[in-house]
């Protein structure tokens, strides 16, 4: 059930009207033609955002860290340095000192909703001038990346 819910959120984020990423399953109907990422977010996103209660963090899980590093290398590193400086998006060094875990998860997985509702996300867009790409991560992928970030 949980997985299905996440898929729903992703689908709504990704493109409001159409089928979910690659899978061909139907997403809830939204305004036709409203494209999220490329066109600049024409429609209002109704995606549910993660809250602190959705994320539990215990001791560092090395298995998750390793998976998170692999995902970072493939899908994040092109735009985010592990250092302090911005490439396209901000550098990751010390990110958990600046950002709450749920905010990071939402930026990875619910970017359209964040750009509509979150002032800090909007401020970052004004600074970076490139919308955070939807890299097709699942919730557990996002969580693995977060775990990797905890070690930076």
């Amino acid at each position: 059930m949980k997985t299905r819910k996440i898929k729903h959120i992703l689908a709504a984020t990704f493109i409001l009207t159409m089928a979910a990423c690659g899978g061909g399953e139907s997403a809830p109907a939204g305004p036709p033609g409203a494209s999220g990422a490329a066109a600049g977010g024409a429609g209002k996103s109704t995606a549910k955002l993660f809250t602190a209660a959705d994320i539990t963090m215990g001791d560092i899980d090395q298995g998750m860290v390793d998976k998170g590093r692999g995902i970072y290398d493939m899908k994040c590193q092109a735009c985010h340095s592990l250092g302090a400086n911005r490439v396209v998006g901000p550098g990751f060094k010390g990110i958990l000192e600046r950002r709450k875990p749920e905010w990071i998860m939402n930026m990875i997985l619910n970017i359209d909703a964040m750009l509509e509702t979150d002032d800090e996300a909007q401020r970052l867009l004004e600074e970076c001038l490139v919308r955070m790409p939807n890299q097709g991560l699942s919730k557990s992928d996002g969580r693995d990346v977060l775990e990797y970030m905890r070690t930076l």
Partner: protein, 663 residues
């Protein structure tokens, strides 16, 4: 003086045209104003942000492509490159796609495409694939409607002018390819014969091509050799006539020169009926012979994003003379184009381009005539059925120059008339003309959504016209071709819309958007990319020298390339840019272009890898950049490659300077 002369000339020209139009039969309402009803605009209006109801797949004719329009708006949504190279996408230019256009004649970057055909399940379009023919260098292509890309292509041996294709059997077991030109076949000595030995040495062929249901790879299951006639169009039987195939043919005179006259001598040519279930059985039983006939079958490996070729050296042939019962001829007046089967499969409508009537044949009567050997003779060994015995009836004086017929779900047929420029609606059972509307001008094929299938969706008929004089703003001596959309919801056909088309829109298919939209691929999963030169992340980017070839594994993402600095390339090297787009988001392709490229650019879809071959010609630093606008920093998406003289000691390296490095 000069000026007024010119003006007079123009006025005379226009009056002559108006006079002709007013007086030619079937072209009575001379202007759009009188032809369009008041609410036409609202009936084709698709509001911003909303989608059309139908996808319309329209042949690109001599452009060699397939164009996709929305109906009822007539908006052009995409041109899919099929038989012609396409600089916009790099199709036919990238190393991955070049094999798609490779044939036994070498690389053929153009063709003349005619007839789109949607794949079928139970004789109804299933929205999975669209086939189209290359008429010039005989080929059939399969376009995947998940990606709207050409997925596979097969060359047809022993064929010359692949006109009567590709038409699909009810479950897409086969699509057919009938040769337009009969030609001598066989060994080199058998092919090198005087043209005036046509009657003795020339042969026709129809090929049955099998697309593998899972992979879409195509092969020729069998080929039937026929007498030397010219095949024009074809239709599968379905329902009552399932298991049979019908091909219209002309030049039963066996002329080989000035066919305009010499192939129009007989009052009747033929529709050839093929018992394809029998042919399939004979082929399976090993009754055919393998004949030499080298041909390519090319298909896109979705895991490597690369086209692969299988080269066949021969083809299985069935000779009609050895297999009685395989082929029959039905006389059909005169030079038939369309031979169209109605939704029940009982009736076959012949459209003789030079005939003043429309013959409708009955499948039941055809079977009875075959059973009782009710033949009027034979044609080069093939039994010819008696015209009167197989005829359901004729539509008398329907118009001039009938070409092609499609059907609605209510027992009506719609036939295009080239010479009288009109669409005529008539009842198939009763053979009565019900309505006629003019087209602007010289209609070829027409199309009803699903109108060639067992369950037409009806609603519209679209005319695909050869001429558009006075319909659009003039653009020099050449004008765009045109399509016209008519409503067929009511008793009377109503013109709703004109829209321009590219190439010559020979034929088309349409299917409801809901059948196709859910299949759309949004991006390729980077995890599933098994291209030999993929870089799954910037860390895997790099450079490698293999002799005089330099391979660069490069990545793209909004808004940079990695690497964006390359040095150590020398004159005399050939450089291969293997570019992987790391994006995983719908509609974020990146382009790659480099100064002096002799081929084209690349357009790389999210998660895809594509390769551009580049041969430097000068020493110096050469820029490359992204061609497809991707973000506010798109203009900054660029890089440099340094070319040194041959034998230079500059070390080979490719790098991107880290933002954390001291600049």
């Amino acid at each position: 003086m000069n000026k007024s002369f010119k003006i007079t000339g123009i006025v005379i020209g226009f009056s002559a045209m108006a006079f002709l139009m007013m007086n030619s039969p079937g072209c009575r309402p001379g202007t759009t104003r009188t032809a369009v009803t008041g609410d036409a605009a609202s009936r084709v209006y698709v509001a911003p942000g909303t989608h059309d109801e139908f996808y319309n797949f329209v042949s690109g004719g001599f452009s060699g492509q397939l164009a996709i329009y929305g109906l009822p708006s007539g908006r052009l949504l995409r041109e899919v490159p099929v038989f012609s190279v396409d600089p916009e996408s790099g199709y036919g230019f990238s190393e991955e796609t070049k094999p798609m256009l490779t044939t036994s004649h070498g690389f053929i970057p153009w063709d003349d495409s005619h007839h789109p055909e949607l794949s079928m399940t139970n004789a109804v379009p299933d929205g999975r694939w669209c086939f189209i023919n290359g008429n010039n260098t005989p080929r059939i292509a399969l376009i995947d409607l998940g990606t709207f890309r050409t997925h596979s292509m097969i060359e047809i041996p022993h064929s010359a002018g692949n006109h009567s294709s590709p038409f699909a059997t009810p479950n897409t077991e086969y699509v057919v390819a009938g040769t337009r030109f009969s030609v001598p076949v066989g060994s080199e000595a058998e092919r090198d014969v005087p043209i005036n030995t046509y009657k003795e040495n020339f042969k026709g062929s129809v090929s049955f091509i099998k697309p593998e249901p899972e992979t879409g790879k195509m092969s020729i299951a069998f080929q039937i050799l026929t007498p030397p006639v010219n095949f024009d169009l074809a239709r599968t039987g379905k329902g009552a006539s399932d298991g049979w195939f019908f091909f219209s043919c002309y030049n039963t005179e066996k002329a080989y020169s000035l066919l305009e006259v010499n192939a129009s001598q007989r009052d009747k040519d033929f529709i050839m009926a093929v018992n394809w279930k029998l042919a399939e059985q004979l082929a399976k039983e090993g009754k055919g012979k393998r004949a030499p006939g080298k041909h390519y079958s090319n298909w896109l490996n979705e895991h490597t994003h690369t086209v692969e070729s299988t080269i066949y050296e021969d083809v299985l042939q069935l000779d009609y003379r050895e297999h009685p019962g395989l082929l029959y001829f039905m006389p059909c007046p005169k030079s038939p184009h369309g031979c169209d089967v109605n939704p029940t499969g009982e009736y076959i409508v012949g459209s003789g381009k030079l005939a003043a009537l429309l013959p409708v044949f009955s499948f039941k009567k055809i079977q009875e005539a075959i059973a009782s050997k009710d033949f009027e003779g034979d044609f080069v060994g093939i039994p010819v059925l008696k015209y009167e015995s197989v005829l359901h009836g004729e539509v008398k004086k329907p118009g001039l120059g009938p070409l092609h017929t499609e059907f609605d779900a209510n027992g009506n047929a719609y036939t295009s008339f080239f010479v009288s420029s009109e669409i005529v609606k008539w009842n198939v059972e009763k053979l009565e003309v019900l309505d006629r509307v003019p087209t602007y001008y010289s209609i070829g094929h027409l199309m009803v959504p699903g109108g060639n299938s067992a369950k037409p969706w009806g609603k519209y008929v679209v005319a695909y016209n050869k001429i558009t004089k006075d319909r659009y703003l003039p653009t020099g001596p050449e004008l765009t071709q045109s399509a016209q959309l008519y409503s067929i919801d009511g008793d009377k056909m109503e013109l709703l819309l004109d829209f321009p088309t590219t190439g010559e829109p020979h034929y088309a298919q349409a299917a409801p958007a809901d059948l196709i939209k859910p299949r759309e691929v949004k991006f390729f999963r980077i995890e599933d990319n098994h291209h030999p030169w993929v870089a799954k992340g910037e860390k895997e980017s790099g450079i490698e020298r293999r002799g005089r070839n330099v391979h660069i594994k490069m990545t793209t993402i909004r808004s940079h390339f990695t690497p964006d600095n390359v040095e150590g390339v020398q004159l005399g090297d050939t450089v291969y840019f293997h570019v992987t787009n790391l994006e995983q988001d719908w509609d974020v392709p990146h382009g790659f272009a480099i100064k002096g490229a002799a081929n084209a650019e690349l357009l790389i879809m999210p998660g895809e890898t594509a390769t551009l071959k580049w041969v430097p010609t000068k020493v110096g630093v050469v820029p490359f950049y992204c061609t497809d606008f991707c973000s506010a920093l798109h203009q900054e998406m660029q890089g440099y490659l340094r070319v040194s003289p041959r034998g230079s000691s500059v070390p080979l390296k490719a790098y991107t300077v880290s933002v954390d490095a001291e600049l």
